[in-house]
Protein backbone atom coordinates (compact mmCIF):
# COMPACT_ATOMS: atom_id res chain seq x y z
CA UNK A 1 0.00 0.00 0.00
CA UNK A 2 2.83 2.39 0.89
CA UNK A 3 4.68 1.84 -2.38
CA UNK A 4 1.51 2.42 -4.36
CA UNK A 5 1.08 5.69 -2.49
CA UNK A 6 4.57 6.98 -3.32
CA UNK A 7 4.22 5.93 -6.93
CA UNK A 8 1.01 7.92 -7.09
CA UNK A 9 2.91 10.98 -5.95
CA UNK A 10 5.58 10.63 -8.63
CA UNK A 11 3.24 10.21 -11.56
CA UNK A 12 1.83 13.77 -11.86
CA UNK A 13 5.31 14.98 -12.89
CA UNK A 14 5.71 12.12 -15.33
CA UNK A 15 2.39 12.89 -16.95
CA UNK A 16 3.33 16.60 -16.96
CA UNK A 17 6.36 15.87 -19.16
CA UNK A 18 4.14 13.78 -21.37
CA UNK A 19 1.77 16.72 -21.58
CA UNK A 20 4.58 19.13 -22.51
CA UNK A 21 5.62 16.98 -25.46
CA UNK A 22 2.12 16.61 -26.83
CA UNK A 23 0.99 20.21 -26.76
CA UNK A 24 -2.67 20.88 -27.27
CA UNK A 25 -3.84 17.27 -27.51
CA UNK A 26 -4.57 15.97 -24.03
CA UNK A 27 -4.51 12.20 -23.88
CA UNK A 28 -7.08 11.08 -21.36
CA UNK A 29 -6.67 7.35 -21.87
CA UNK A 30 -7.22 5.58 -18.56
CA UNK A 31 -4.47 3.06 -17.90
CA UNK A 32 -6.46 -0.10 -17.36
CA UNK A 33 -3.46 -2.42 -16.92
CA UNK A 34 -1.46 0.07 -14.88
CA UNK A 35 -3.85 1.45 -12.29
CA UNK A 36 -1.06 3.32 -10.48
CA UNK A 37 -0.71 5.71 -13.39
CA UNK A 38 -3.67 7.96 -12.82
CA UNK A 39 -5.27 10.31 -15.31
CA UNK A 40 -4.92 14.00 -14.59
CA UNK A 41 -8.10 15.82 -13.69
CA UNK A 42 -8.94 18.96 -15.73
CA UNK A 43 -7.90 21.21 -12.83
CA UNK A 44 -4.44 19.66 -12.62
CA UNK A 45 -4.00 19.62 -16.39
CA UNK A 46 -4.84 23.32 -16.49
CA UNK A 47 -2.24 24.01 -13.79
CA UNK A 48 0.35 21.96 -15.69
CA UNK A 49 -0.39 23.88 -18.87
CA UNK A 50 0.20 27.19 -17.08
CA UNK A 51 3.70 26.03 -16.17
CA UNK A 52 4.37 25.15 -19.83
CA UNK A 53 2.89 28.52 -20.88
CA UNK A 54 6.13 30.27 -21.93
CA UNK A 55 6.19 28.41 -25.24
CA UNK A 56 2.69 29.50 -26.16
CA UNK A 57 3.40 32.96 -24.71
CA UNK A 58 6.49 33.30 -26.92
CA UNK A 59 4.37 32.38 -29.92
CA UNK A 60 1.79 34.97 -28.85
CA UNK A 61 4.52 37.61 -28.61
CA UNK A 62 5.83 36.73 -32.07
CA UNK A 63 2.36 36.81 -33.56
CA UNK A 64 1.44 40.09 -31.92
CA UNK A 65 4.62 41.72 -33.28
CA UNK A 66 3.73 40.62 -36.81
CA UNK A 67 0.17 41.94 -36.37
CA UNK A 68 1.45 45.25 -35.03
CA UNK A 69 3.82 45.66 -37.95
CA UNK A 70 0.95 44.98 -40.36
CA UNK A 71 -1.40 47.38 -38.56
CA UNK A 72 1.18 50.13 -38.61
CA UNK A 73 2.16 49.72 -42.25
CA UNK A 74 -1.07 51.56 -43.28
CA UNK A 75 -1.16 54.35 -40.74
CA UNK A 76 1.46 54.69 -38.00
CA UNK A 77 -0.55 57.16 -35.95
CA UNK A 78 -3.85 55.31 -35.89
CA UNK A 79 -5.46 53.87 -32.80
CA UNK A 80 -5.12 50.32 -34.15
CA UNK A 81 -1.36 50.65 -34.56
CA UNK A 82 -0.91 52.06 -31.06
CA UNK A 83 -3.18 49.45 -29.50
CA UNK A 84 -1.31 46.69 -31.35
CA UNK A 85 2.08 47.81 -30.02
CA UNK A 86 0.59 48.13 -26.54
CA UNK A 87 -0.47 44.51 -26.81
CA UNK A 88 3.09 43.56 -27.81
CA UNK A 89 4.38 45.36 -24.72
CA UNK A 90 1.85 43.62 -22.44
CA UNK A 91 2.67 40.18 -23.82
CA UNK A 92 6.42 40.80 -23.60
CA UNK A 93 6.03 41.76 -19.96
CA UNK A 94 3.94 38.64 -19.29
CA UNK A 95 6.54 36.49 -21.08
CA UNK A 96 9.38 37.93 -19.04
CA UNK A 97 7.45 37.37 -15.79
CA UNK A 98 6.78 33.79 -16.84
CA UNK A 99 10.48 33.29 -17.59
CA UNK A 100 11.38 34.63 -14.13
CA UNK A 101 8.86 32.32 -12.54
CA UNK A 102 10.28 29.34 -14.41
CA UNK A 103 13.81 30.21 -13.33
CA UNK A 104 13.01 29.58 -9.67
CA UNK A 105 10.59 26.71 -10.00
CA UNK A 106 12.07 23.92 -7.97
CA UNK A 107 9.46 21.15 -7.60
CA UNK A 108 10.77 20.12 -4.19
CA UNK A 109 10.71 23.70 -2.88
CA UNK A 110 7.19 24.20 -4.15
CA UNK A 111 5.99 20.98 -2.50
CA UNK A 112 7.73 21.77 0.78
CA UNK A 113 6.24 25.25 0.92
CA UNK A 114 2.80 23.71 1.26
CA UNK A 115 3.76 20.60 3.24
CA UNK A 116 6.65 21.36 5.59
CA UNK A 117 5.91 18.50 7.98
CA UNK A 118 6.48 15.65 5.49
CA UNK A 119 9.60 13.51 5.66
CA UNK A 120 11.24 15.12 2.64
CA UNK A 121 10.77 18.61 3.98
CA UNK A 122 11.47 18.45 7.69
CA UNK A 123 14.30 20.72 8.78
CA UNK A 124 16.06 20.26 12.10
CA UNK A 125 17.67 23.50 13.11
CA UNK A 126 16.89 24.61 16.58
Amino acid sequence: MATLFTLNFVTPRATASLRDSTKGSPIKVPYLNQPWKRVLSPLESRRMQVRAAPDSLSEKVEQSIKEAQEACSDDPASGECVAAWDEVEELSAAASHARDRLKDNDPLENYCKDNPETDECKTYDN
Binding site: R47, V50, A53, L57, S58, V61, E62, Q63, S64, I65, K66, A68, Q69, C72, P76, S78, G79, E80, C81, V82, A83, A84, W85, D86, E87, V88, E89, E90, S92, A93, A94, A95, S96, H97, A98, R99, D100, R101, D114
Partner: protein, 408 residues
Protein backbone atom coordinates in the same frame (compact mmCIF):
# COMPACT_ATOMS: atom_id res chain seq x y z
CA UNK B 1 -15.89 55.27 19.43
CA UNK B 2 -14.30 53.39 16.57
CA UNK B 3 -16.35 51.95 13.76
CA UNK B 4 -16.89 48.22 13.95
CA UNK B 5 -17.15 46.48 10.56
CA UNK B 6 -19.25 43.34 10.69
CA UNK B 7 -18.34 40.52 8.36
CA UNK B 8 -21.60 39.00 7.23
CA UNK B 9 -21.68 35.61 5.59
CA UNK B 10 -22.72 37.19 2.28
CA UNK B 11 -19.65 39.38 2.04
CA UNK B 12 -17.43 36.37 2.71
CA UNK B 13 -19.06 34.36 -0.07
CA UNK B 14 -21.00 32.21 2.36
CA UNK B 15 -17.94 30.87 4.16
CA UNK B 16 -17.68 31.38 7.86
CA UNK B 17 -14.17 32.19 9.01
CA UNK B 18 -13.56 31.26 12.58
CA UNK B 19 -10.92 33.51 14.09
CA UNK B 20 -9.32 32.60 17.38
CA UNK B 21 -8.83 35.49 19.78
CA UNK B 22 -5.52 34.00 20.96
CA UNK B 23 -3.90 35.19 17.73
CA UNK B 24 -4.15 38.84 18.65
CA UNK B 25 -3.70 38.56 22.41
CA UNK B 26 -6.10 41.47 22.84
CA UNK B 27 -3.37 44.00 22.05
CA UNK B 28 -4.07 47.69 22.33
CA UNK B 29 -4.74 47.87 18.61
CA UNK B 30 -7.46 45.28 18.43
CA UNK B 31 -10.67 44.99 20.37
CA UNK B 32 -12.13 41.73 19.30
CA UNK B 33 -15.70 40.86 20.12
CA UNK B 34 -16.30 37.28 19.19
CA UNK B 35 -19.84 36.00 18.88
CA UNK B 36 -20.45 32.30 18.54
CA UNK B 37 -23.84 31.46 17.16
CA UNK B 38 -24.58 27.77 16.71
CA UNK B 39 -27.70 26.60 15.00
CA UNK B 40 -30.11 24.67 17.20
CA UNK B 41 -30.88 22.33 14.34
CA UNK B 42 -27.35 20.87 14.23
CA UNK B 43 -28.38 17.38 15.31
CA UNK B 44 -30.95 17.11 12.51
CA UNK B 45 -28.73 18.66 9.81
CA UNK B 46 -25.73 16.61 10.79
CA UNK B 47 -23.33 19.53 10.81
CA UNK B 48 -22.73 22.57 12.96
CA UNK B 49 -23.08 25.99 11.45
CA UNK B 50 -21.22 28.25 13.81
CA UNK B 51 -20.62 31.69 12.44
CA UNK B 52 -18.17 34.03 14.09
CA UNK B 53 -18.69 37.69 13.66
CA UNK B 54 -15.44 39.40 14.53
CA UNK B 55 -15.51 43.04 15.32
CA UNK B 56 -12.05 44.55 15.12
CA UNK B 57 -12.11 48.16 16.16
CA UNK B 58 -8.95 50.21 15.86
CA UNK B 59 -7.36 48.52 12.87
CA UNK B 60 -10.33 49.16 10.62
CA UNK B 61 -8.28 51.87 8.92
CA UNK B 62 -5.93 50.32 6.40
CA UNK B 63 -2.90 52.31 5.31
CA UNK B 64 -3.02 52.70 1.53
CA UNK B 65 0.12 53.22 -0.55
CA UNK B 66 0.05 54.00 -4.26
CA UNK B 67 2.85 53.07 -6.65
CA UNK B 68 2.83 54.28 -10.24
CA UNK B 69 5.11 52.48 -12.70
CA UNK B 70 4.98 51.74 -16.41
CA UNK B 71 4.50 48.40 -18.08
CA UNK B 72 2.06 46.50 -15.93
CA UNK B 73 2.43 45.03 -12.50
CA UNK B 74 3.32 41.80 -10.82
CA UNK B 75 6.27 40.48 -9.00
CA UNK B 76 8.33 43.59 -9.57
CA UNK B 77 11.46 44.22 -7.57
CA UNK B 78 10.14 47.26 -5.72
CA UNK B 79 7.19 45.33 -4.32
CA UNK B 80 9.38 42.50 -3.15
CA UNK B 81 11.73 44.91 -1.40
CA UNK B 82 8.82 46.77 0.16
CA UNK B 83 7.09 43.67 1.52
CA UNK B 84 10.42 42.30 2.74
CA UNK B 85 10.92 45.38 4.95
CA UNK B 86 7.77 44.38 6.81
CA UNK B 87 8.88 40.78 7.01
CA UNK B 88 7.71 37.73 5.15
CA UNK B 89 7.53 37.01 1.47
CA UNK B 90 4.56 38.18 -0.55
CA UNK B 91 2.95 35.43 -2.57
CA UNK B 92 -0.06 35.02 -4.81
CA UNK B 93 -3.19 33.91 -2.93
CA UNK B 94 -3.08 30.15 -2.38
CA UNK B 95 -5.70 28.02 -4.01
CA UNK B 96 -6.99 30.79 -6.23
CA UNK B 97 -6.56 31.71 -9.86
CA UNK B 98 -2.95 30.90 -10.81
CA UNK B 99 -2.84 33.98 -13.05
CA UNK B 100 -3.86 36.30 -10.24
CA UNK B 101 -1.84 39.50 -10.01
CA UNK B 102 -2.37 39.93 -6.27
CA UNK B 103 0.41 39.39 -3.73
CA UNK B 104 -0.37 38.71 -0.08
CA UNK B 105 1.95 38.63 2.92
CA UNK B 106 1.25 38.94 6.66
CA UNK B 107 1.09 42.70 6.78
CA UNK B 108 0.65 43.76 3.17
CA UNK B 109 -1.55 43.04 0.20
CA UNK B 110 -0.48 44.27 -3.22
CA UNK B 111 -3.22 44.88 -5.75
CA UNK B 112 -2.45 45.31 -9.44
CA UNK B 113 -4.56 48.08 -10.95
CA UNK B 114 -4.69 46.24 -14.28
CA UNK B 115 -7.48 44.28 -12.61
CA UNK B 116 -9.69 47.35 -13.02
CA UNK B 117 -9.49 47.34 -16.80
CA UNK B 118 -12.97 47.89 -18.17
CA UNK B 119 -11.91 46.64 -21.61
CA UNK B 120 -10.09 43.37 -22.14
CA UNK B 121 -7.44 42.92 -24.83
CA UNK B 122 -9.89 42.34 -27.70
CA UNK B 123 -12.06 45.23 -26.52
CA UNK B 124 -9.09 47.57 -26.56
CA UNK B 125 -8.01 46.36 -29.98
CA UNK B 126 -11.50 47.03 -31.35
CA UNK B 127 -11.62 50.54 -29.97
CA UNK B 128 -7.98 51.25 -30.86
CA UNK B 129 -7.21 52.19 -27.26
CA UNK B 130 -4.14 51.33 -25.17
CA UNK B 131 -4.16 50.15 -21.56
CA UNK B 132 -2.67 53.54 -20.66
CA UNK B 133 -5.83 55.32 -21.77
CA UNK B 134 -8.28 56.10 -18.93
CA UNK B 135 -11.12 54.90 -21.17
CA UNK B 136 -9.85 51.35 -20.70
CA UNK B 137 -10.10 51.52 -16.89
CA UNK B 138 -13.02 51.54 -14.48
CA UNK B 139 -12.10 54.25 -11.99
CA UNK B 140 -15.46 54.14 -10.23
CA UNK B 141 -14.96 50.51 -9.26
CA UNK B 142 -11.35 51.21 -8.29
CA UNK B 143 -12.45 54.04 -6.00
CA UNK B 144 -15.25 52.02 -4.39
CA UNK B 145 -13.11 48.98 -3.70
CA UNK B 146 -10.11 50.90 -2.38
CA UNK B 147 -12.46 52.90 -0.14
CA UNK B 148 -14.06 49.67 1.10
CA UNK B 149 -10.72 48.04 1.83
CA UNK B 150 -9.53 51.17 3.60
CA UNK B 151 -12.58 51.02 5.88
CA UNK B 152 -12.01 47.35 6.62
CA UNK B 153 -14.57 45.73 4.31
CA UNK B 154 -13.56 42.76 2.15
CA UNK B 155 -14.21 43.09 -1.58
CA UNK B 156 -14.57 40.87 -4.64
CA UNK B 157 -11.95 42.23 -6.95
CA UNK B 158 -11.93 41.29 -10.65
CA UNK B 159 -8.84 39.64 -12.11
CA UNK B 160 -7.25 40.71 -15.37
CA UNK B 161 -5.42 37.73 -16.83
CA UNK B 162 -2.28 39.01 -18.56
CA UNK B 163 -1.71 35.71 -20.35
CA UNK B 164 -5.13 35.38 -21.98
CA UNK B 165 -5.99 39.08 -21.99
CA UNK B 166 -9.43 38.39 -20.51
CA UNK B 167 -11.19 39.45 -17.34
CA UNK B 168 -11.43 36.42 -15.03
CA UNK B 169 -13.99 35.82 -12.25
CA UNK B 170 -13.33 37.94 -9.15
CA UNK B 171 -11.33 36.92 -6.09
CA UNK B 172 -11.97 37.87 -2.50
CA UNK B 173 -9.57 40.40 -1.00
CA UNK B 174 -9.64 40.85 2.76
CA UNK B 175 -8.55 44.22 4.13
CA UNK B 176 -4.89 44.07 5.17
CA UNK B 177 -2.93 46.32 7.48
CA UNK B 178 -1.14 47.86 4.51
CA UNK B 179 -2.68 47.96 1.07
CA UNK B 180 -0.45 48.75 -1.87
CA UNK B 181 -2.07 49.61 -5.18
CA UNK B 182 0.37 49.30 -8.01
CA UNK B 183 -0.11 50.08 -11.66
CA UNK B 184 -0.43 52.73 -14.31
CA UNK B 185 -3.08 54.98 -12.78
CA UNK B 186 -3.04 55.01 -8.97
CA UNK B 187 -2.99 58.81 -8.82
CA UNK B 188 -5.00 59.56 -11.93
CA UNK B 189 -8.43 59.72 -10.35
CA UNK B 190 -8.79 62.46 -7.76
CA UNK B 191 -10.97 60.42 -5.40
CA UNK B 192 -8.48 57.55 -5.33
CA UNK B 193 -5.66 60.04 -4.82
CA UNK B 194 -7.34 61.36 -1.67
CA UNK B 195 -7.50 57.84 -0.23
CA UNK B 196 -3.74 57.32 -0.55
CA UNK B 197 -1.66 57.83 2.58
CA UNK B 198 1.55 57.85 0.56
CA UNK B 199 2.29 57.75 -3.15
CA UNK B 200 5.39 56.90 -5.14
CA UNK B 201 6.15 57.42 -8.83
CA UNK B 202 8.91 55.53 -10.64
CA UNK B 203 10.17 57.84 -13.37
CA UNK B 204 12.46 56.01 -15.79
CA UNK B 205 14.10 58.17 -18.44
CA UNK B 206 13.74 57.20 -22.08
CA UNK B 207 17.32 56.04 -22.59
CA UNK B 208 17.26 53.84 -19.51
CA UNK B 209 13.82 52.48 -20.42
CA UNK B 210 15.08 51.54 -23.86
CA UNK B 211 18.15 49.80 -22.42
CA UNK B 212 16.06 47.86 -19.89
CA UNK B 213 13.50 46.78 -22.47
CA UNK B 214 16.26 45.59 -24.78
CA UNK B 215 17.66 43.51 -21.94
CA UNK B 216 14.22 42.09 -21.20
CA UNK B 217 12.96 41.41 -24.71
CA UNK B 218 15.99 40.44 -26.80
CA UNK B 219 15.66 36.88 -25.48
CA UNK B 220 12.21 36.61 -27.07
CA UNK B 221 12.16 35.08 -30.57
CA UNK B 222 10.03 37.62 -32.37
CA UNK B 223 11.64 40.77 -31.02
CA UNK B 224 14.26 42.88 -32.72
CA UNK B 225 15.75 46.26 -31.92
CA UNK B 226 13.30 47.92 -34.31
CA UNK B 227 10.24 46.26 -32.80
CA UNK B 228 11.25 47.26 -29.26
CA UNK B 229 11.87 50.83 -30.40
CA UNK B 230 8.56 50.92 -32.30
CA UNK B 231 6.70 49.64 -29.27
CA UNK B 232 8.13 52.35 -27.01
CA UNK B 233 7.50 55.09 -29.59
CA UNK B 234 3.92 53.99 -30.20
CA UNK B 235 3.06 54.07 -26.49
CA UNK B 236 4.82 57.35 -25.82
CA UNK B 237 1.96 59.77 -26.69
CA UNK B 238 -0.51 58.01 -24.38
CA UNK B 239 2.15 57.67 -21.69
CA UNK B 240 3.00 61.38 -21.79
CA UNK B 241 -0.65 62.38 -21.78
CA UNK B 242 -2.01 60.11 -19.04
CA UNK B 243 0.72 58.52 -16.94
CA UNK B 244 3.49 61.11 -16.74
CA UNK B 245 1.34 63.91 -15.23
CA UNK B 246 0.81 61.74 -12.15
CA UNK B 247 4.32 62.52 -10.93
CA UNK B 248 3.31 65.95 -9.75
CA UNK B 249 0.97 64.35 -7.20
CA UNK B 250 3.48 61.82 -5.86
CA UNK B 251 4.97 62.23 -2.39
CA UNK B 252 8.18 60.56 -3.53
CA UNK B 253 9.55 60.24 -7.06
CA UNK B 254 12.39 57.89 -7.92
CA UNK B 255 13.94 59.22 -11.11
CA UNK B 256 16.33 56.94 -13.01
CA UNK B 257 18.68 58.61 -15.49
CA UNK B 258 21.82 57.63 -17.36
CA UNK B 259 25.06 58.23 -15.47
CA UNK B 260 27.05 61.44 -15.66
CA UNK B 261 30.25 59.80 -14.43
CA UNK B 262 31.07 58.05 -17.68
CA UNK B 263 31.13 60.32 -20.74
CA UNK B 264 29.15 58.97 -23.70
CA UNK B 265 27.89 55.93 -21.85
CA UNK B 266 25.21 54.08 -23.76
CA UNK B 267 25.31 50.73 -22.04
CA UNK B 268 23.03 51.92 -19.29
CA UNK B 269 24.65 49.73 -16.65
CA UNK B 270 25.70 52.58 -14.34
CA UNK B 271 22.73 54.69 -13.30
CA UNK B 272 22.09 58.07 -11.77
CA UNK B 273 19.12 57.84 -9.44
CA UNK B 274 17.36 60.78 -7.80
CA UNK B 275 15.00 60.48 -4.86
CA UNK B 276 12.70 63.49 -4.92
CA UNK B 277 10.87 63.84 -1.62
CA UNK B 278 8.02 66.26 -1.11
CA UNK B 279 8.27 68.52 1.94
CA UNK B 280 5.40 68.91 4.34
CA UNK B 281 3.87 65.46 3.89
CA UNK B 282 2.28 64.15 7.06
CA UNK B 283 4.20 61.34 8.81
CA UNK B 284 7.02 61.57 6.23
CA UNK B 285 10.37 63.21 6.94
CA UNK B 286 12.80 63.28 4.02
CA UNK B 287 16.20 61.62 4.14
CA UNK B 288 19.10 64.06 4.19
CA UNK B 289 22.85 64.17 3.94
CA UNK B 290 24.87 65.93 6.67
CA UNK B 291 22.74 69.07 7.05
CA UNK B 292 19.04 69.30 6.33
CA UNK B 293 18.09 72.03 3.89
CA UNK B 294 21.58 72.79 2.65
CA UNK B 295 23.12 71.80 -0.66
CA UNK B 296 25.77 69.11 -0.47
CA UNK B 297 27.92 67.37 -3.03
CA UNK B 298 29.72 64.33 -1.71
CA UNK B 299 32.15 61.83 -3.16
CA UNK B 300 32.73 59.19 -0.46
CA UNK B 301 35.68 57.59 -2.29
CA UNK B 302 38.98 58.90 -1.01
CA UNK B 303 41.33 58.11 1.82
CA UNK B 304 38.92 56.21 4.05
CA UNK B 305 37.15 54.36 1.28
CA UNK B 306 38.54 53.08 -2.00
CA UNK B 307 36.09 52.59 -4.86
CA UNK B 308 36.59 51.10 -8.29
CA UNK B 309 35.73 52.93 -11.53
CA UNK B 310 33.42 54.86 -11.97
CA UNK B 311 33.02 55.39 -8.24
CA UNK B 312 30.11 56.90 -6.34
CA UNK B 313 28.87 60.48 -6.20
CA UNK B 314 26.11 61.78 -3.93
CA UNK B 315 24.35 65.09 -3.88
CA UNK B 316 21.58 66.51 -1.76
CA UNK B 317 19.72 69.77 -1.79
CA UNK B 318 16.39 71.57 -1.73
CA UNK B 319 14.55 72.20 -4.98
CA UNK B 320 11.13 72.89 -6.45
CA UNK B 321 9.26 70.24 -8.40
CA UNK B 322 6.05 71.18 -10.19
CA UNK B 323 5.57 74.05 -7.81
CA UNK B 324 6.17 72.03 -4.63
CA UNK B 325 9.06 72.35 -2.21
CA UNK B 326 11.12 69.15 -2.36
CA UNK B 327 14.40 67.70 -1.13
CA UNK B 328 16.42 65.77 -3.66
CA UNK B 329 18.91 63.06 -2.75
CA UNK B 330 20.89 61.80 -5.70
CA UNK B 331 23.26 58.90 -6.18
CA UNK B 332 25.36 58.34 -9.27
CA UNK B 333 27.48 55.21 -9.61
CA UNK B 334 27.60 51.70 -8.26
CA UNK B 335 28.37 49.86 -5.05
CA UNK B 336 31.05 47.23 -5.47
CA UNK B 337 31.65 46.16 -1.91
CA UNK B 338 29.74 45.82 1.31
CA UNK B 339 31.83 48.40 3.14
CA UNK B 340 30.95 51.07 0.56
CA UNK B 341 27.29 50.48 1.33
CA UNK B 342 27.67 50.60 5.10
CA UNK B 343 29.91 53.69 4.82
CA UNK B 344 27.25 55.51 2.81
CA UNK B 345 24.48 54.42 5.17
CA UNK B 346 26.37 55.72 8.19
CA UNK B 347 26.48 59.20 6.68
CA UNK B 348 22.81 59.45 5.67
CA UNK B 349 20.38 60.84 8.23
CA UNK B 350 16.67 60.39 8.88
CA UNK B 351 16.60 56.93 7.37
CA UNK B 352 13.92 55.61 9.79
CA UNK B 353 15.98 52.50 10.47
CA UNK B 354 15.46 50.59 13.71
CA UNK B 355 19.14 49.74 14.07
CA UNK B 356 22.45 50.74 12.54
CA UNK B 357 23.03 48.90 9.29
CA UNK B 358 19.41 48.02 8.56
CA UNK B 359 19.53 49.45 5.03
CA UNK B 360 22.65 47.43 4.26
CA UNK B 361 21.09 44.33 5.73
CA UNK B 362 17.96 44.73 3.60
CA UNK B 363 20.04 45.29 0.48
CA UNK B 364 22.13 42.20 1.19
CA UNK B 365 19.04 40.10 1.80
CA UNK B 366 18.08 40.67 -1.81
CA UNK B 367 21.50 40.95 -3.40
CA UNK B 368 20.28 39.00 -6.42
CA UNK B 369 17.54 41.54 -7.27
CA UNK B 370 18.28 43.95 -10.10
CA UNK B 371 19.48 47.32 -8.87
CA UNK B 372 21.02 45.96 -5.69
CA UNK B 373 24.32 47.63 -6.45
CA UNK B 374 23.08 51.10 -7.34
CA UNK B 375 20.71 53.86 -6.33
CA UNK B 376 17.55 52.10 -7.48
CA UNK B 377 17.87 49.36 -4.87
CA UNK B 378 19.13 51.78 -2.22
CA UNK B 379 16.30 54.28 -2.65
CA UNK B 380 13.64 51.60 -2.98
CA UNK B 381 14.83 50.14 0.33
CA UNK B 382 14.88 53.58 1.96
CA UNK B 383 11.34 54.31 0.72
CA UNK B 384 10.27 50.94 2.14
CA UNK B 385 11.64 51.92 5.55
CA UNK B 386 9.91 55.31 5.30
CA UNK B 387 6.62 53.58 4.60
CA UNK B 388 7.10 51.37 7.65
CA UNK B 389 7.74 54.49 9.71
CA UNK B 390 4.63 56.12 8.25
CA UNK B 391 2.52 53.06 9.06
CA UNK B 392 3.75 52.97 12.65
CA UNK B 393 3.07 56.67 13.12
CA UNK B 394 -0.46 56.34 11.74
CA UNK B 395 -1.36 53.34 13.88
CA UNK B 396 0.17 54.99 16.96
CA UNK B 397 -1.88 58.14 16.41
CA UNK B 398 -5.05 56.08 16.00
CA UNK B 399 -4.63 54.27 19.33
CA UNK B 400 -3.79 57.57 21.02
CA UNK B 401 -7.06 59.17 19.91
CA UNK B 402 -9.50 56.79 21.67
CA UNK B 403 -7.37 56.98 24.82
CA UNK B 404 -7.79 60.73 24.83
CA UNK B 405 -11.52 60.30 24.28
CA UNK B 406 -11.83 58.07 27.33
CA UNK B 407 -9.80 60.50 29.43
CA UNK B 408 -12.08 63.42 28.50
Amino acid sequence: MAVCPVYTTQSLNSTCSISTPSKTHFSSHHNHLVFYRTSKRTSKRGGSSSCVITCSAGDSQTVVIGLAADSGCGKSTFMRRLTSVFGGAAEPPKGGNPDSNTLISDMTTVICLDDYHSLDRTGRKEKGVTALDPRANDFDLMYEQVKALKSGIAVDKPIYNHVSGLLDPPELIKPPKILVIEGLHPMFDERVRDLLDFSIYLDISNEVKFAWKIQRDMAERGHSLESIKASIEARKPDFDAFIDPQKQYADAVIEVLPTQLIPDDNEGKVLRVRLIMKEGVEHFSPVYLFDEGSTISWIPCGRKLTCSYPGIKFSYGPDTYFGHEVSVLEMDGQFDRLDELIYVESHLSNLSTKFYGEVTQQMLKHADFPGSNNGTGLFQTIVGLKIRDLYEQITASKTAAPLQATKA
